[in-house]
């Protein structure tokens, strides 16, 4: 069966100083010398792994069956900007090896793998502001395919001056105030979770990703409708059974989203919530953050539908249910 157990989750939104006090000393030190996106990732992952009961002795050998799947819209954008500034100003002699080594978007996932000895599958991917659900979806696929027992999965994006300038100049029109967040879940193959008597936060039932080639001019294709229908079908959930649905579209794409929901849900009218009205546009973190919000709000055992919709055209849908109380 395709269900994947969600054993824990942790999100940080709207933080000025990344909280590190809950981390082991060595992990704190790693976070303190890292780029901001890595510090956010370590802070949330440390809390999620602890809640899931998966933090091992730092001296233990690496866990080849535990890994990381991270979604991020902008990844190493800030690091690239810092490195590029120095190169443009001072030429090649000013190029920083330390910064250049972090000009890869998988730096955060790599640091996380080192910090917690997670030597299994490690993937970082971007699908614009739909990166978070794409990462959760890929993580469930890896677990279903037997390639890992447990994965830290979710999304993160850090903000800073060059990126906020880019966004303000229309780099990606998200229509809401850009905000920084990280939201990570621990996903586990169900028998692995049961065998170690892990806590249960909820269950991932089905997901799908798609693309809207004409999203830029506001006309709707059927990429999102197809994704919602496919996620519900895989979850074996009827639209009428949904306790709530999470809206995610930028205002300019609200019509696209409502047409897609009408096409995929028919007469069903689940309660619609919009965490982006609270948190702002958090890009790669948006979908996982919305999933944690929905799991907390929905009654136990009730299915929820979470969407990701990005002006780039990337869309995603995920169906989950919270743990029965």
């Amino acid at each position: 069966m395709s269900r994947i157990t969600i054993t824990a989750g942790h999100a940080l939104a709207s933080v000025t100083h990344v909280p590190l006090g809950h981390l082991a000393e060595a992990v704190q030190a790693r976070a303190a010398r890292s780029e901001r996106i890595t510090a956010l990732t370590l802070a949330a992952a440390g809390a999620a792994l602890a809640a899931a009961g998966l933090v091992s002795d730092p001296a233990a050998s690496p866990s080849p069956r535990i890994g990381v799947v991270l979604g991020t819209a902008f990844g190493c954008f800030l690091t690239n900007a810092a490195y590029q500034d120095r190169l443009a100003d001072g030429g090649p002699p000013a190029a920083s090896p330390r910064l250049f080594a972090a000009t890869v978007s998988n730096a955060a996932a790599g640091e996380l793998a080192i910090a917690y000895r997670l030597a299994g599958p490690g993937v970082t991917l971007t699908a614009g502001a739909a990166s978070g659900l794409a990462a959760l979806g890929h993580a469930t696929d890896l677990l279903r395919a037997g390639q890992a027992d447990a994965l830290v999965a979710g999304g993160v994006d850090a903000l800073g001056a060059p990126l906020t300038r880019w966004l303000a100049e229309g780099g990606l029109n998200c229509g809401r105030p850009p905000a920084e967040a990280v939201a990570l879940l621990v996903l586990e193959e169900p028998t692995f979770a049961r065998a170690r008597a892990a806590p249960v936060l909820g269950t991932a039932l089905g997901h799908a990703s798609g693309f809207e080639p004409e999203a830029a001019d506001g006309s709707a294709g059927d990429g999102l409708a197809r994704a919602v229908s496919a996620a519900l079908e895989e979850a074996d959930v009827q639209p009428g059974d949904l306790a709530l649905a999470v809206s995610a579209a930028p205002p300019a794409l609200a019509g696209l989203e409502s047409r897609a929901l009408a096409a995929a849900l028919g007469r069903a009218r689940p309660r619609i919530v919009s965490p982006k009205d609270t948190y702002g546009e958090t890009f790669g973190a948006a979908g996982p953050l919305a999933l944690l919000t929905a799991l907390a709000e929905a009654p136990g055992g009730a299915p929820v539908l979470v969407l990701d919709v990005c002006a780039s055209g990337h869309v995603g849908a995920l169906v989950a249910e919270s743990a029965s109380t």
Binding site: P62, G67, T72, A73, F74, G75, N80, A81, Q84, L87, A88, P92, A95, S96, P97, F100, A101, A102, T103, V104, N106, A107, A109, G110, A113, I114, L118, A119, P121, G122, V123, T124, L125, T126, G128, S131, A134, H138, D141, L142, R144, A145, Q147, P162, E169, G170, G171, N173, S209, G210, F211, E212, P213, A216, G221, G223, R226, S312, G313, H314
Partner: protein, 388 residues
């Protein structure tokens, strides 16, 4: 009789290449078999202050193209779609999995220098995948794996997962990257570069950067059978891992690379003894090649399986490397020829545990070919290809 495919097997039905040896699969292949190297002084941008300043450039896409990485990918995808005879097939369940490390970087560099704002979709990283999906009208899953120098390999693994899980019928999968000052100065400041790439050679001093793109069409077996597509190879197994040891230096024991290889073989249901050819990551840095020799000898046995690296010919094409090496593997299966490792003359004694193909191409019936990639932040990925 070939065994029947398991449900929703991932089949390769088309290939497309833009490389420093030329655009198109035939030119790429002929250059590799001839042992040619495209490494030469950089011409596409000012490089007088860069040291070293050699690279393997794509010559048939204009240097002033504002989105070279996207153009490479689009051209490779066009060849792959035509090769797969998919031009008239609907795009509703067609996806794009396109790895890159620098795609969109030229526009980014210009914007950083306060030049005019690029079009909104040209953000770094996912710009090439978005350009491909919009141009072709794809409505399936679209994502950009970002795993440094293993991005293209991860992209093909991601495509295999989508096809097997029924998330797409066809995925344009691969990688693209282009050369710019940003990346040449970066590898130079890490002291990881040399004027010539000599993978596994006793005189190797570092890598040489390259650029290009490769797209493989990954298609669900039933979909391919129904439209009577030509089956080129089966993408039989995929695997990935993290070193979990160090951000830039590969695990000296090759532990991460070994885990990715074993995971891919296990996924394919094959033992190492079934493998007839390995396309190594083989960057030409002292460290990588020594690590990889340890890992490959551990998995496949000392000297048992022919190994090559194409980075002596086309340099390290970063996010495109794993995709170009996937094309190499598929062609090797079809042709029964293993191209030589260009610029490898004297095998380093620490790499002598490998049967390195060099000097001349080698005729060999290949039933299973493996490609392996590694990258910054300790990422590893491996692919297993068999006859369809």
């Amino acid at each position: 009789m070939p065994l029947p495919h398991p449900p929703r097997a991932a089949i390769i039905t088309g290939l497309g290449v833009v490389s420093p040896l030329g655009s198109g699969v035939p030119g790429f292949w002929d250059g590799l078999v001839a042992g040619r190297t495209a490494v030469a002084p950089i011409t596409a941008f000012p490089a007088a202050d860069l040291e070293p300043r050699n690279a393997a450039e794509v010559r048939d896409v204009p240097a002033d193209d504002p989105d070279r990485a996207g153009t490479f990918a689009l051209r490779a995808a066009g060849e792959a779609l035509a090769h797969a005879d998919l031009d008239g097939v609907g795009r509703g369940r067609m996806g794009v999995a396109l790895g890159t490390t620098l795609g969109g970087m030229r526009l980014f560099e210009r914007w950083m220098a306060r030049e005019p704002m690029p079009p909104p979709e040209h953000v770094p990283y996912y710009a090439p995948a978005v350009r491909l999906a919009r141009t072709l009208g794809c409505r399936g899953p679209v994502a950009t794996p970002q795993l440094a120098c293993a991005s293209g390999t991860h992209a093909i693994a991601l495509a295999a997962g989508w096809v097997r899980q029924g998330r797409a019928d066809v995925v344009l999968a691969g990688g693209t990257d282009f050369l710019c000052r940003f990346v040449v100065a970066g590898f130079n400041c890490l002291r990881a570069t040399a004027e010539r790439a000599r993978p596994f050679d006793v005189t190797r001093r570092g890598l040489v950067l390259g650029e290009g793109a490769a797209i493989v069409v990954v298609e669900e077996a039933g979909h391919a059978a129904r439209r009577e597509a030509r089956l080129l190879a089966r993408l039989a197994g995929v695997g990935c891992s993290a070193d979990a040891t160090h951000m830039t230096a590969p695990d000296r024991e090759g532990g991460g690379a070994t885990r990715a290889l074993l995971a891919a073989l296990d996924d394919a249901g094959l033992t190492p003894a079934a493998v007839d050819f390995v396309s190594a990551h083989g960057t030409g840095t002292p460290y990588n090649d020594a690590m990889e020799a340890v890992a490959l000898a551990r998995v496949f046995g000392a000297g048992r399986v022919p190994v090559n690296s194409i980075k002596g010919a086309i340099g390290h094409t970063l996010g495109a490397a794993g995709a170009l090496e996937a094309v190499l593997c598929v062609e090797t299966l079809a042709r029964g020829v293993i191209p030589p490792t260009a610029a490898l003359e004297t095998v380093d004694p620490v790499c002598a545990v490998l049967d390195l193909v060099h000097g001349a191409p080698r005729r060999r019936t290949v039933g299973a070919a493996v490609s392996t990639s590694s990258g910054f932040a300790g990422t590893n990925a491996a692919l297993v290809f068999t006859h369809p």
